[in-house]
Symmetry: D3
Subunit: 124 residues, 6 copies
């Protein structure tokens, strides 16, 4: 049913803008734009590349562009999408060549934080 | 009087480098360069675009270039120059298209902080 | 009628990918993503900012990010959306401060090309 | 034999700097740095990610960073490493979200050029 | 005499905007801003670093930021300011580490063009 | 002796990844890549530019690219390599022109932090 689909979109949009704050004046539309264009209904829902492939290229771009906050989220998502910790380390090292060592130093630091947080959560 | 004009430049330059720290060795010249080239005597003083227009394009550039600290200052200044909160949200959403969603996620977060701080200051 | 709306989307999508070439394998979906997310049905269709304001911020971002090919298109569109040549020059000069003089040098060169091409077209 | 290995390095280094010109004064060392650090003996030779994975992340980074000349080389190499044309198109579309639509417009244009050149070479 | 100083500024400003075209509407002010802020009267005229040092850091920034047109000008100026061809090659190689190999590949190509053009001019 | 050389590489690599954390899975190789490609055995060990020159261009690139964490390290190293505080301030001011004022504002803030920390350490 179209209505249910729309309710789900709005629920997801609210969830995004609770995790990623936005001004009240634009919050609902911004959340819906993310839902429809990015995920779960946007490019991430297209069948042309696997979720693992999409995590690879997203982490690559966020490392090379030096976007530390988004990178943190997507390293976690990459683990959920089937990348191993070793593969994520390998990918960030590869980015030292294409985006420069400083962006890879930052990427390594963030990956370490995400992995340590997962270890702590599992132990806890 | 030229002297008074110069005294005002030096007072403004000192104010800038109190808000935006710089090494003692360069501090005075750096403050004067900002005063003369940026504001209040630089590009911001030119009549060819309104202050509201200049705030629009400055916030656009700082969002797209991912310069969070300067963006915080200029979102506040944008409100002072006549932009509404809704317009600033709209502008940051537009930047998702031209600079990528990650820079807009950061921009939304910073705009929310600035707006919340203004609300708190008004209540306080 | 939904069908007519969809036909229009597809016609516009084809027009985009004739002007901006893309691989055959992705061309149709890519054109539709631009139509729905960017223009004419995406952020550019939202009422929260005027077309003139959207041209200002788009040209600002493309200048600061050093995207010469897209900048050329959007300087032309900015003229169509009501910006004067003097305002576009003023905007690019402002970007020298926020993105550095080299991006403004490029922006000035491209603006000059666009303006000269319009003059030639009017005379021709 | 170590000597043969070194001869191969020097031959490859010369081949790189014929394709990618460099000043005579640095040319040999520059070619050797690429051979040892990038490929074939650098990060590209590490077993932690497949060649297809490395092409995915390299094309992602070069698209997002707007490096058109290197992107052209790596789209061709990506085809050789097992990426399909549809996958490359999908990857560039994904970058519209993370690096902005302008970098994807450029990426699509370059991918189309590479694919057309391969078609022409096959026919010719 | 102040007047002569101003005449010189205007002559230099005109020369800049002949080499680096700008729209007629902004051309004079743009040229004057470059003269007063960049060179010869701006940061380049300050005694705190030698001209050779300023060429080093300018070429470094333009290589790392991937600004090919401005880089071409400043490699030539660097030779005039006392950098050797070998030093310029060394500097661009260093940038491979901090900005990524693709920006250094471009830098090497442009340096080679500038050096070849100088050789041709000397022979011619 | 080759063995001793290798032991030294591994000791330095461990020191790097203690200061700059990385995932356990890649940590050793990542540290070795830095040792061999960056410093002390990589580009920084080449004789073509002095250590002072290399600090100048590294600080220039890190300021212009807006890499605050790496910039902090390299401003300290620049002092150790013979740059004066006044020269570092001058260099960051120069970057306002080529990378935009916002990156120089950040650079000035970080330089001030590094200088203040050195003063505190000397007094302490």
């Amino acid at each position: 049913m179209a209505e249910d689909h729309d309710e789900r979109r709005r629920r997801l949009a609210r969830a995004f803008t609770e995790a990623l704050p936005a001004p009240e004046e634009i919050r609902e539309d911004w959340g819906l734009l993310i839902v429809d264009t990015v995920l779960p209904n946007g490019v991430w829902s297209r069948p042309g590349l696997s979720l693992r492939d999409r995590s690879l290229i997203t982490i690559a771009a966020l490392t090379a562009l030096h976007r530390p906050n988004e990178l943190r989220l997507h390293i976690g998502r990459g683990l959920d999408n089937g990348l191993s910790r070793a593969e994520i380390g390998e990918l960030i090292m590869h980015m030292a060549i294409y985006g420069g060592f400083p962006v890879a130093v930052e990427g390594m630091r963030i990956a370490r934080e995400v992995f340590d947080a997962r270890d702590a959560a599992e132990k806890g």
